[in-house]
Point group: C2
Chain length 166, copies 2
């Protein structure tokens, strides 16, 4: 019927990509867990921290993450309860509210980052010599530009920068 459709090189390629993603994700999650953060919370924290004023409107936050607006509401609820974030009313638009990183949130993030970077280096970037790494990154960048054109305009290669409102 389908004599080894699964040996198709396209399947292989996606398989590799997804395996690498899964492996890294698992290691990230384990390390973040040591600091009491879920991957989503870490993503929210980094998104906010790298934004001007360490704040973003809820909608923009949703657009930049993999979350829906209601998902953002829930995550921010949790993180506000934990003291990592605060809501602040937007002066110019009373419908909007900002999610703002608190000092506690920033220090929590700072506690995570070194270990996070170390994992990346140990399991990803450090596994390849510089030229091979560049080749991989160039390729990924091209694919990213196709798959997620919004990100191209952004500051750099931010993960899922502007996922939503394309």
């Amino acid at each position: 019927m389908n004599p080894n459709v699964f040996d198709d090189p396209r399947i292989t390629a996606v398989g590799l990509l997804f395996e690498v993603h899964a492996g890294l994700s698992a290691r990230f999650a384990a390390q973040l867990d040591e600091h009491g953060l879920s991957p989503v919370e870490f993503e929210v924290l980094t998104r906010l921290a790298r934004s001007p004023g360490a704040q973003l409107r809820m909608t923009d936050l949703a657009a930049q993450t993999s979350l829906s607006t209601s998902g953002v509401t829930r995550v921010v609820d949790r993180m506000e309860r934990d003291g990592l974030l605060t809501r602040r009313a937007c002066p110019s638009d009373r419908r909007s509210s900002y999610a703002v990183v608190t000092p506690a949130g920033l220090s929590r993030l700072d506690g995570c980052l070194p270990g996070h970077l170390q994992i990346i280096e140990d399991w990803f970037t450090g596994q390849l010599d510089p030229s091979a790494l560049d080749a991989v990154l160039d390729g990924l960048r091209r694919v990213r530009d196709a798959v997620n054109p919004c990100a191209t305009a952004g500051s750099g290669d931010d993960p899922e920068e502007g996922t939503g409102p394309c």
Copy 2:
């Protein structure tokens, strides 16, 4: 405090990888949805279809997917209800049971695959010329071998082949 920690090339690298993954995942999910399959169900179906006899023991299925054993029970329940799978008693070990793909399940899978492959080609492999693609795949393979050593022994580059029992 952290003057642009986020421009660290390591962050960039992971960002690219995750963005590509997210973009492809979203497109896969949309296409599978047209065929009434969730990504997990598709994964289960492909796992089974590529196994000898189009069947696997529940435990092995759990090991090869991102699911727990109880999770597999649930998914197989659903898919059995939908007629895509059947449970069959294992002759050699009466504790075990096989999940077997039904003809309906196979044809459902066959209906998905062309579109699935097309997406891969359109958004991933076709975006790079052969040599660049090879470079990316070689790099990913090396990283995969580090991050998920179990997969190396397998038939090829199966996604998450043997994720569980390492």
